[in-house]
């Protein structure tokens, strides 16, 4: 892959926005079938330009307007905000208090830095294939809950471009949810509580809610490979002391301290811990006997950590899919839910790599093509298809297909009710 140099961004972005950004699909998404008047026109976008110039309340009339503006301004970053009561670019002309955010997709942002206390391989903005499994588990757990518990049908998962993933829930009813309900959803999905000064962040009650139980089943599939082998969380005294900090001070605590020495791998030590936890004497009622302790440790090390502030505000701005990450050059691409386990953030195309691919193809095609004007248009509509961006756009198109299907179904239902034939 072509190495990415941030200094080249202005040139690269120019090419990207002219030839590669999938405007048609993007507009198809945010227009939502044009069912609601001015839905796209009232959507806020924000651009971050060169030298960190940040402009909010951008809005556009239609797809071609969007294209022109993006090509003109060449934004380094694009964020998507809410659908407002008026055109955001005219918000200053609106009477005070009348300009309100009305609808927006329900969004989630999962960031690897929130796991720094439980991953040993990397910290802060760094990621590697070992800790990426945290994102895989997060996607599986959250997506299952959104789909099976909440009944949300249209969920788009996107790689953020550096160290995390975003989820956009686009169901019609979801876009209308209040801030209170959004907060409630995040609360439902939260299990890991506490900041730096809290050692034990997960506490389970005797009654284990089905959501928790199902999440644990998912974690179990990955725990050995991720935590015991990859992260090696019980490798040595320094690392297993952190686990022991989660075990209440009881005879079991000392027992583990001593016996961990005798074992030779994290795998063995974990097996021992599980046995010890389930065999606790019956007279100690309050200490977690049975599988709870084991589950609490697994959850603290593997369960997703959400940022409630991103999800609860209707007017919150979030990085747009197909936006470029200015530091890594990676494109924020949709993640194929059917192939979550195989997703590799390091294989995601960077803007320099796809521009390079495009250049290579273009030069060879121009040699063949005789009608220049015709080839220009053809190129614009199919350029991305010739690059590594193509499969990701396909995932996006599948998502759009599902949205369309739902919409048609809804319209049919409505017209049936009204007895329109």
């Amino acid at each position: 892959m072509e190495p990415f140099d941030p200094a080249e961004l202005p040139e690269l972005l120019k090419l990207y926005y002219r030839r590669l950004f999938p405007y048609a699909q993007y507009y198809r998404w945010l227009n939502y079938g044009g069912v609601v008047k001015n839905y796209f026109q009232h959507r806020e976008f924000s651009f971050t330009l060169k030298d960190d110039i940040y402009i909010r309340y951008q809005s556009f009339n239609n797809q071609s307007d969007l294209e022109k503006e993006m090509q003109k301004m060449n934004p380094y970053k694009i964020d998507i905000g809410a659908v407002y009561s008026h055109r955001p670019n005219q918000h200053n002309t609106v009477k005070l208090g009348a300009f309100q955010a009305q609808e927006k997709e329900l969004v989630f942002d999962i960031d690897m830095t929130d796991y720094d206390d439980v991953r040993r391989c990397c910290s802060s903005a760094d990621i590697c294939s070992k800790c990426w499994t945290l994102m895989t588990m997060a996607i599986r757990i959250i997506d299952r809950a959104l789909k099976e518990d909440f009944g949300f049908k249209h969920r788009l998962w996107v790689y953020s471009g550096r160290r995390g993933v975003h989820c956009w829930v686009c169901d019609e009813s979801v876009r209308k949810l209040s801030s209170a309900v959004r907060s409630g959803i995040v609360e439902y999905l939260s299990l890991v509580k506490g900041g730096q000064d809290v050692k034990k962040k997960v506490h389970l009650s005797e009654n284990v809610h089905p959501f928790v139980r199902k999440s644990i089943s998912i974690i179990k599939k990955y725990f050995e490979g991720y935590a015991l082998v990859g992260q090696d969380i019980l490798e040595n005294k320094e690392s297993w002391d952190k686990i022991l900090a989660l075990v209440p001070e009881t005879p079991m605590h000392n027992d583990l301290q001593q016996n961990f020495q005798k074992h030779h791998s994290s795998l063995q030590r974990w097996e021992y811990l599980k046995k010890a936890a389930s065999q606790c004497p019956s007279n100690i009622k309050n200490e977690k006997c049975g599988p709870w302790l084991e589950w609490e440790i697994m959850l603290q090390y593997c369960f997703p950590r959400l940022d409630i502030n991103v999800s609860k505000g209707i007017n919150h701005l979030l990085k747009s899919p197909f936006s470029v990450h200015p530091k890594t050059g990676r494109i924020s691409v949709p993640i194929d839910l059917q192939k979550v386990d195989q997703f590799d953030p390091f294989a995601v195309p960077t803007i320099s790599s796809i521009c390079h691919e495009l250049d290579a193809i273009f030069t060879s095609e121009v040699e063949k093509e005789e009608n220049q004007a015709e080839s220009d248009i053809k190129h614009r509509t199919r350029d991305y298809k010739k690059t590594s961006l193509a499969p990701y756009v396909k995932v996006f198109e599948q998502f759009l297909e599902n949205l369309d299907k739902s919409r048609k179904g809804e319209l049919l239902k409505k017209s049936d009710l009204q007895k329109d034939f």
């Binding site: 309900v181 609360e187 089905p210 139980r213």
Partner: protein
């Protein structure tokens, strides 16, 4: 025919003087509504406004015939309701007042019981039931002849909406007490009556079938903390869109599947209360918008204003202790016996040699209440203001007049009474540069914490106070402050007035009541606290009730003047 005090004058005579009724009728001739005479028949058109409809002035209004037997039962099928429909009958102004006062008494009791006892416990429930029964409101389904109490409940609720829709604080208070009342009534509703109540209230909660229940039995039991053991067959389970069960699903207290929450009957209460709160909140906002039309009715305006500001208790205007304080005692008294609101006002006055109008009123009247004479007050304020480089003549011209005015020696010559806690909390919030108000209500929690630290309150005490503030129990927070600064486990009174704080403080410091405890206040383990609460709450409630009567008399006197 004099028309200036006509509104009040009309109330002067309690309905027997035909001349008076004709007088009243003539006053309202301009509005076509009350065409019919008769001193008792007043068209209560305001309720049409409450429901959001335009005010309707119909022509000749026929008095509704008395409902008999089944008709009465049909109009109020349950002992509790959501108050969805406003009443549409005629009532007399007397009844209007009485209903309002009674319901206010009830809601105040609800508030006090809620702070003195843990809600939902047996003691709380039985006390609340006693209060409701005493005031003759409805509560239980199975009793005979429920029509009158239910009707009273219905109408009085709507009357109070008029008084309590006017500000955010009033609305919040009203909604909180009405919710607690509804929660109690629902808790004593027999199970078999619940379904019909829900249906009649148009709440679309579908109970699921046995097979559906069986499919999800494990999950439902695992999710609900209120279900004890595998007794699901006996329980109704309702299927509700998840967004309608916010308080349940956010804490994972209910089973969610495909966008629906499967809620056992026991947990339905939380949802119902939420529905109720949302509906009432909307209704109050609507009422507030229509209020100007109602307030222009001069029969109602004084009553409504008085209701929403009504203070229950002593007013500390009687100065039996006048002249017993000397000016040089004030500095030390301010740290020992003043409530925090007055302590901070005194400090600000000493530091800035000035106070703005709000502060002068609140603090000046308080000083009057603790026993300062007019002469002392004039000297006190003048001394301080002069230190701020104020010209003595300017003081005499500008400020002394106001001080004399507040002592009732000028102008209207009303002897103004010191502000109660409620008045301080609810009216005239302080802005930048002001020092009046209630620190527990108006201070930012961080600043409050610092202030309490500077007053040498222990960290444990501070966190208890902050918790109470978070729960909007401002006066109880002040009671806690009292307890911490006077080193007693229980202050022994229910705080309603800053001067009461002072009186009680002096009592503790100068002997008299043997409240001082030997031991250091422990970390207040729960059982002990509630036991203490009940011991003193009953005495507090008793004193509250007696003072309630005092003030209600005052309310009636006001109208019969």
């Amino acid at each position: 025919m004099r028309t200036t005090r006509a509104g009040v004058g009309g109330r002067k005579i309690r309905g027997r003087d035909l001349r008076a009724s004709r007088f009243r009728f003539r006053f309202y001739k301009k509005s076509p509504a009350t065409r019919e005479g008769g001193c008792q028949a007043l068209c209560v058109v305001e309720f049409a406004v409450v429901a959001g409809n335009k005010m309707e002035f119909s022509g000749v209004k026929r008095r509704k015939p008395w409902l008999i037997g089944d008709q009465r039962k049909a109009s109020y099928p349950h002992s509790l309701q959501f108050y969805l429909q406003p009443p549409s009958e005629n009532i007399s102004l007397i009844e209007f007042e009485n209903l309002a006062i009674d319901r206010l008494k009830l809601l105040k009791s609800v508030e006090n019981l809620g702070v003195s006892y843990v809600k939902g416990t047996e003691l709380y429930q039985s006390k609340l039931e006693a209060e409701i029964r005493k005031l003759k409101f409805s509560y239980r389904e199975s009793l005979e002849d429920e029509y009158e109490p239910r009707r009273k409940d219905h109408i009085s609720h709507f009357i109070l909406r008029l008084a309590y829709c006017q500000s955010e604080d009033l609305r919040r208070w009203f909604i909180q007490q009405e919710m607690d009342l509804l929660r109690f009534r629902f808790s004593i509703l027999p199970k078999d009556k619940i379904q019909s109540f829900l249906q009649d209230s148009h709440l679309h909660f579908e109970a699921i079938s046995e097979e559906e229940k069986n499919l999800r039995e494990q999950e439902i039991i695992a999710s609900s903390t209120s279900l004890g053991g595998p007794k699901l067959e006996l329980e109704y389970v309702y299927k509700i869109p998840f967004a309608d069960a916010l308080d349940l699903f956010r804490g994972r207290k209910v089973y969610l599947e495909n966008g629906f929450a499967y809620v056992p009957l026991k947990d339905i209460v939380a949802i119902i209360l939420n529905e109720f709160r949302a509906k009432l909140s909307k209704a109050l906002a609507l009422t507030a918008r229509s209020l100007p039309a109602v307030q222009s009715d001069e029969r109602l305006q004084p009553l409504l204003n008085h209701l929403s500001h009504s203070y229950i208790g002593q007013d500390y205007s009687i100065q039996g202790n006048a002249g017993k304080i000397s000016l040089d005692q004030i500095d030390s008294l301010s740290t020992k016996s003043f409530p925090p609101c007055m302590r901070q006002l005194h400090k600000a006055l000493r530091e800035n040699h000035h106070l703005r109008h709000g502060g002068r009123m609140q603090y000046g009247l308080f000083l009057k209440g603790i026993g300062l004479t007019l002469e002392q007050a004039l000297q006190f304020w003048k001394q301080e203001f002069i230190k701020g480089k104020m010209d003595p003549d300017k003081f005499d011209k500008g400020y002394s007049y106001n001080i004399r005015h507040s002592f009732g020696k000028e102008g209207k010559r009303t002897d103004y009474t010191p502000f109660s806690c409620l008045k301080i909390i609810l009216t005239n919030p302080p802005s930048q540069g002001d020092y009046h108000g209630c620190p527990f209500r108006h201070s930012d929690p961080e600043l409050l914490k610092q202030k309490l630290q500077s007053y040498k309150i222990t960290p444990g005490g501070i966190s208890q106070i902050l918790d109470l503030v978070k729960g909007t129990h401002y006066q109880v927070a002040c009671q806690k402050y009292f307890e911490m600064t006077h080193n007693v486990d229980d202050c022994g009174f229910s705080l309603n007035h800053p001067n009461q704080f002072f009186v009680e403080s002096q009592r503790v410091l100068n002997g008299g009541k043997d409240i001082k405890k030997e031991s250091i206040p422990p970390e207040t383990p729960q059982p002990k606290q509630s036991a203490q609460k009940t011991k003193n709450a009953s005495s507090a409630l008793a004193s509250l009730n007696s003072s309630l009567e005092m003030d209600m008399e005052g309310l009636e006197d006001y109208f019969s003047e």
